[in-house]
Amino acid sequence: MSVALLGHAATTAVPLAFDTQLKIGQPLILGIVQGAIYGLIGLGLVLLYKSNRIFNFAQAEFGTIAGLCTLLALNGRLFGISWHMPYAVAAVVGVLIGTLTAVATERLVIRPLFNRPKVILVVGTVGVLLTLIAIESLAFPQGDTLPAFNDPKQGAVTDLKDPSFRVGFAGYNVSWAQVLTLIVLVALALGAVAFFRYSRQGTAILAVSQEPTAAQAVGISVSRVSLLTWTLAGFLGSVAGLLALQSTLVGPGIVTGTALVGGITAAVLGGITSLPGAFLGGMLVGLIQTFAAANVDFRGSQSVVVGLVLLLVLLVKPTGLLGSEA
């Protein structure tokens, strides 16, 4: 994530013991944006937990695949043919391939292991994660920087020449990519709510998650629902990855390294079965992390604090904030 760093407005004149901007304002903005990405990853995890009762450790890696494929689509070269796609097209290609990876995972790994113990399925997703990272590092040994979606240098979709703009709040620079992240989060959140409340497919997913046998008895195909869930999860993971990678050096395993633990924590904190909980949890984890990084002067305070929060939630309230079952 491009850390759009603060503009120092008024603090240079009087050295304050407590810098409000540094300690509160900046972590607030960064935390919300980071939390949006955790929320998206967490949403995919919740979906898969609802349908398969597992954690998908490859969830964030679909995002890296999407990022790398977007890069490839932007400036590709294969067998002597090179091409430059507009950013929007490249992003669609990336998300599509990320989603297809999830579909392939379901078909090739999850479906054959469906009736095995859950730990075996989880290890299966770990295997998928490792395979994806290994293929990425063989195919993209160097890695490259994914430009921000409005970067004027490469395939900009808008005329916004300035990649960052100044928001009226305490004089911070917030990049358009960060604004986009929030907009996408809100749009997908509303879309998810509508999908599960009003569409037949969404209701079918919920039915299977509550009682697979009864759902089968009324004519819902459990394996089709599983495929649909993985498609949705792959889409969410890919979108989250693209947003997380705006103007970042994309290398193998990058989204897993930066957002997987946060995403899982978000899902658990919000309640592993609750979709709104994943968003809430994502926001909370993002904020806790950035506030800890800004205010606790201790190496690695980010991951330690998140770990403690996770431990506390699991010990005190294993169902999470909004979940109904553990």
Binding site: I54, F55, V109, P112, L113, R116, P117, K118, V119, I120, V122, V123, G124, V126, G127, V128, L129, L130, T131, I133, A134, I135, S137, L138, A139, F140, P141, Q142, G143, P252, G253, T256, G257, V261, I264, T265, V268, F298, R299, G300, S301, Q302, S303, V304, V306, G307, L310, L311, L314, L315, P318, A326
Partner: protein, 359 residues
């Protein structure tokens, strides 16, 4: 057993012993072989948690790192003898593992694997990277004890320790404790109703697992002759944790022989690939293969990791017994039974070997 049978098995053990001894004559290769022995120990350690208690740990590199950290600092900074350093590393890892075991009493299954995942990365970013413990991030140098200073010598130390751990693990499963752990894994409440102290046995399993990992960590620190936290920081640390899971599954969950074989395999795989791909004509061929040519790029370990993950998926999908399951006729023959490719199902303590994991 006939006379010929005894002779044949004796010959097989002799060959095995000679093969184990061969890396002593090398220098670079011995270093990778000692890594293989250390990975095998990590496999046995994780196998106690995954194979015997049925919980998935994704933070076992934390124990390895803790053992290495304590050993390196005790030996290099406090200037104590190396065996004291290794012993303290074992104790520290076991103590932390007991704390994690206390968590595991309340939290099980997926949530526990999550806790261990966070534990591994949190201990690496906080404790392992403390400047006072890493010689201001430049790494703690340590010298191997006298008589064991060469790579080959240290390899022999690793092998002897591995064999000792292997025997300990064998005694564990063959004893009352092993049967108790199996009962707890199958059904905790029933086990408790039969008078098995679930709490103490679970904690014992975690402590033992942590102790073995700490021991492996001490050997690891002396193997590299420097302790640096970089091996355990997150992209590599997480990859290491996953590698241990991979070698446990590929070896065959709950099967100690398979886990050891897989550990050795993954320990030396990188070096073998390096040697193979360094050959001139192999390089010429590989550089024209689209995906494989990435091997000569920035990421050397990625091919080994690809092989490992494909083996993992293959094991899960087609070959649940893992390497251990494949080797079972051979290992049964070596321990004095008849050579049979398809043995009859058996009960009793030996059933610990092949049983699956639940959560």
């Amino acid at each position: 057993m006939t006379r010929a049978g005894i002779t044949a098995r004796g010959g097989a053990y002799l060959v095995l012993g000679i093969v184990l001894f061969l890396p002593w004559f090398t220098t670079d290769f011995a270093k990778f072989c000692s890594l293989g022995a250390i990975y095998a120990m990590m496999g046995l350690s994780l196998n106690i948690v995954v194979g015997y208690t049925g919980q998935l740990s994704l933070g076992h590199q934390g124990f390895l790192g803790l053992g290495a950290l304590v050993t390196a600092n005790v030996v290099a900074q406090a200037d104590l003898p190396s065996y004291v350093g290794i012993a303290l590393g074992v104790l520290a890892s076991a103590a932390v593992a007991i704390v994690l075991g206390l968590v595991a009493l309340r939290i099980t299954g997926l949530y526990l694997s999550l806790i261990t995942l966070v534990f591994g990365s949190a201990i690496a970013t906080s404790l392992f990277a403390l400047p006072s413990l890493t010689n201001n991030n430049s790494g703690v140098q340590l010298v191997r004890p006298p008589y064991f200073s060469g790579n080959g010598d240290w390899y022999l130390v690793c092998v002897v320790v591995l064999l000792a751990v292997y025997y300990l693990d064998y005694r564990l499963t063959a004893s009352k404790t092993g049967r108790a752990l199996l009962a707890i894994k199958e059904n905790e409440r029933v086990a408790e109703a039969f008078g098995i102290g679930v709490t103490s046995y679970k904690l014992l399993a975690f402590a033992l697992s942590g102790a073995i990992a700490g021991l492996a960590g001490g050997l690891y620190a002396f193997r590299s002759e420097i302790y640096s936290d970089k091996d355990f920081q997150d992209p590599q640390g997480f990859a290491l944790a996953l590698l241990f899971v991979v070698l446990c599954v590929v070896g065959g969950l709950g099967n100690r022989l398979g886990v050891v074989v897989a550990g050795v395999f993954f320990g030396i795989l990188n070096d073998l690939l390096d040697r193979l791909f360094g050959i001139g004509w192999v390089k010429d061929v590989v550089e024209n293969i689209p995906l494989l040519k990435g091997y000569y790029g920035a990421n050397k370990g990625s091919l080994a990791s690809l092989i490992g993950s494909l083996l993992l998926l293959q094991t899960l999908l087609f070959n649940p017994g893992g390497i251990g399951g494949q080797l079972r006729p051979l290992s049964r023959w070596m321990t004095g039974n008849r050579f049979e490719l398809h043995e009859a199902a058996e009960s009793g303590p030996a059933a610990v070997e092949g049983s699956s994991v639940r959560a």
